[in-house]
């Protein structure tokens, strides 16, 4: 068969198409990305709070940098990331312990995995909804004003 006749060469677009993967794959990637994002925020947070040791002027300068619309936006993202990462992490702990996987089944066509069931999907959705709710509440505190 000539290379030009093949119709399965989708390239990068095929790799990025989320439609070919299930929600479990989305959840996997979100768990890892939120984890790395939270680690980066954690290191930055440790650094920014160290300005406390240099006195009120240094602390005020740090607050001018972080208590801005961009700073609040970043904090909102952190709120969403931490809520999703926590809720999905709890789901993963149960899954690792075998809870919510169901009984093993014979692999019949179309070979849908028994373990990728509605319990797992609803767990992922609960994590996403909790993250959205937390971000909404965070927005009301950060952007709503006192």
């Amino acid at each position: 068969m000539e290379v030009a006749d093949r119709n399965n060469r989708e390239g990068i677009i095929g790799w990025l198409n989320p439609g070919r993967y299930g929600w479990e794959r989305v959840s996997y990637w979100l768990q890892r990305l939120t984890g790395v994002g939270l680690l980066a925020y954690f290191v930055g947070h440790i650094y920014e709070t160290s300005s406390l040791t240099q006195g009120p002027d240094a602390w005020a300068a740090m607050l001018e940098l972080t208590q801005t619309p961009m700073g609040h936006l970043i904090l909102l993202l952190v709120i969403g990331m931490s809520t999703y990462h926590s809720a999905n992490g709890i789901r993963l702990i149960f899954t690792h312990g075998g809870k919510g996987l169901g009984k093993p089944g014979r692999p019949d066509y179309p070979y849908d995995a028994v373990s990728l069931n509605y319990r797992q999907k609803s767990g992922i959705w609960i994590a996403l909804i909790l993250a959205a709710a937390a971000m909404l509440y965070g927005a009301s505190v950060l952007l709503g004003g006192e």
Binding site: G35, V36, F42, I46, S50, T53, Q67, H96, V141, L142
Partner: protein, 109 residues
């Protein structure tokens, strides 16, 4: 993974308290220098902050270690990842502990 799960669950509780401390008064007021320093003079809160520091550092850098080890497997890479993540963990804990000690007035200045 047991360390990862235990530190994750424990961090959930202590971080929740840490966040709630910002909500016991208006948010912007809670960030004023005097109020933040007052937090650091509360010994149970200082213990909480130190526990957050240790738990999150272990959980975060261990997670990074897992991701990097799944990316590539060779003796040099694995040894490097383990050494670097443990070193980074210790550096962050040391720097954060310094802040806690100085801000709480428990250490030598």
């Amino acid at each position: 993974m047991k360390i990862h799960y235990i530190t994750g669950i424990a961090a959930l509780f202590v971080v929740a308290v840490h966040i709630l401390m910002r909500l016991i008064m208006p948010y912007s007021l809670s960030l004023e220098y005097e109020n933040v320093i007052a937090n650091y003079h509360n010994i149970p809160y200082v213990v909480l902050l130190e526990s957050i520091l240790v738990l999150i550092a272990i959980h975060g850098f261990n997670g990074l270690r897992v991701i990097l080890l799944e990316l590539r497997q060779s003796k040099a890479w694995e040894d490097g990842v383990i050494i670097l993540t443990i070193a980074a963990m210790m550096a962050v804990i040391a720097y954060g502990t310094r802040t806690i000690i100085v801000a709480s007035g428990l250490g030598f200045e």
